[in-house]
């Protein structure tokens, strides 16, 4: 091809990569002490490593982590994953899930505002909510907010119950669209491995790949169906 019929890269422009905002709200109450918190720590580390190792996900995924146990703590705010270091999680205290969910929703809204101000596109936010029991605080407002956002397709909530004592019906209140799945602590790594692959898939999707913002829901439902056969230890 003649040089005058060849574009140079500097004649093109750049646009920022669309972001995938994911907030993970983790139960670190006293009942998570022992094997559960160890498995959770290992699973979260694996998750972050998997995201970092994926070329597309590492520049588009933005992960925040909120814990609820001894109070509610924002242990990681949204930022580029290369700058994030996940602190070790420790177990203790009650289960202020309502406050944690509200903090998570506020953080997701703030992230969206920042993206909009900077002209950065973003995918539908995800909230991953994991508990081994049930809330010890008032969840009314948190549930209402989640339900409204989920119904209006502004949010996908992934409800995960850890172990046999987690209250599935109370956890299920946070999302009218997905049923909670119950997993054992030993399978937390597998869940987070699935989560990292799902985040990767979203980061690779193009406009038009989904006819609604339902990519996460479809993947979760499939995972829930496959869990017993494909994921459970």
């Amino acid at each position: 091809m003649a040089d005058d019929l060849k574009l140079r890269l500097d004649e093109l422009t750049d646009n920022p990569t669309a972001r995938v905002p994911v907030c993970i709200a983790l139960d670190t109450s006293g009942s998570m002490h022992g094997q559960k918190i160890d498995e959770l720590n290992a699973a979260v580390s694996t998750f972050f490593r998997a995201i970092r190792e994926d070329e597309m996900a590492s520049i588009s995924a933005e992960i925040a982590v909120v814990t609820f146990g001894n109070g509610v703590t924002k242990i990681l705010d949204f930022a580029g994953i290369e700058r994030q270091r996940v602190p070790a999680l420790t177990a203790g205290g009650l289960t202020p899930m309502g406050q944690a969910v509200e903090m998570s929703l506020d953080m997701l809204e703030q992230a969206k505002r920042v993206y909009s101000d900077l002209g950065v596109d973003y995918f539908q936010p995800w909230l991953v909510l994991m508990t081994d029991g049930e809330a010890t605080d008032d969840v009314t407002t948190a549930v209402q907010r989640c339900k409204s956002m989920v119904k209006n397709r502004k949010l996908t909530v992934f409800p995960i119950a850890i172990g046999k004592h987690a209250n599935l019906s109370k956890l299920g209140q946070f999302t009218p669209r997905l049923k909670p799945i119950r997993i054992e602590a030993i399978d937390l790594k597998k869940f987070f491995s699935w989560l990292s692959k799902s985040v990767n898939a979203v980061s690779l999707s193009n406009p038009g790949d989904t006819q609604s913002a339902g990519l996460g829901e479809a993947a979760f439902n499939k995972m829930a169906v496959d869990w017993d056969t494909a994921f459970k230890s």
Binding site: M1, L5, K6, L7, R8, L9, E11, L12, T13, D14, N15, P16, A18, M56, L118, G119, D121, Y122, F123, Q124, K154, V202, L204, S205, N206, P207, G208, D209, T210, Q211, S212, A213, L215
Partner: protein
């Protein structure tokens, strides 16, 4: 002495730039995105240019990734709309906006409905977006349904201006399709005189990643470079060059399929 109506019309006609079909050039090209290539899938964009005795058009449709027959849907839409624009351009541009939208969308709906029967598939399986520009040399008809970008260039300044607006939901992977329930309502149209416009470009959202900067609302220098080719070389040469550059360069900015189409006027005042 009052100027007669006839004289006034002659003076107005002289002032407006008019182009004969011989002065219109089109060029179109597509390239399969890196993701589809890795998956062994074909390009889901379809693009078609037409120059006739009385009109010219460029039409682009981008098939929805999740729709099983979207590649076919995109092809049906560009073929049908090109025919509609060729046969009905005057009737469309002389209609009120609501009727103009129907004159465009009803034939598309019919063609796609026929395809659902032939292929035993649902309408949503043929989902695609739509961008087009058509002209009779005096007037421009521009339309958009869904994402992608349309630009028009001012002959005097050489500046590109964005026409219409890409329909996007709040989220990056949301858009509207020709098969959507409210498609006719959401089809954006612009009709106006050619005046000082000397070129139009339409591009899929994949091509947009490297050719249009969203933060500053500006088109990349490459858009003008490629227009120069359209204005200088014959159509086969230009289309080969466009295709090669989409494949070798523009595609590096996205994993999506990439398509562009140009409609160029050689400026001449009658």
């Amino acid at each position: 002495m009052k100027k007669s109506k006839k004289l006034k019309r002659r003076i107005l006609k002289k002032r407006r730039k008019c182009f004969s079909a011989a002065e219109l050039k089109v060029a179109v090209a597509s390239s399969t995105g890196r993701r589809h290539q890795a998956e062994g899938k074909p390009c889901q964009d379809a693009v078609l240019g037409f120059v006739g005795n009385k009109s010219a058009s460029i039409v682009l449709a981008d098939g929805a990734g999740s729709a099983s027959h979207s590649r076919l849907g995109a092809q049906i839409v560009v073929n049908t709309l090109t025919r509609v624009l060729k046969e009905n351009f005057k009737r469309i541009v002389n209609s009120k906006e609501e009727k103009a939208r129907k004159k465009i969308m009803i034939p598309l709906a019919r063609s796609l409905a026929a395809a659902t029967i032939r292929h035993q598939a649902a309408l949503k399986d043929f989902a695609c977006t739509l961008l087009f520009v058509a002209t009779d040399g005096k007037r421009l008809l521009i339309g958009q349904l869904g994402d992608g970008r349309i630009g028009i260039r001012n002959a005097e300044t050489g500046d590109w201006r964005l026409m219409l607006d890409a329909f996007k939901g709040e989220f990056f992977n949301e858009t509207v399709f020709v098969t959507s329930k409210k498609a006719t309502e959401l089809l954006q149209l612009a009709i106006g005189p050619v005046n000082s416009i000397d070129a139009c470009v339409i591009m899929s959202d994949g091509a947009e990643e490297g050719l249009y900067q969203r933060a500053s609302h500006t088109f990349a220098p490459a858009v003008s470079r490629m227009l120069e080719w359209v204005q200088t070389y014959d159509q086969p040469t230009v289309e080969t060059a466009l295709k090669n550059n989409l494949k070798d360069t523009v595609r590096l900015k996205t994993t999506d399929d990439v398509s562009v189409a140009y409609l160029s006027f050689t400026t001449k005042t009658e």
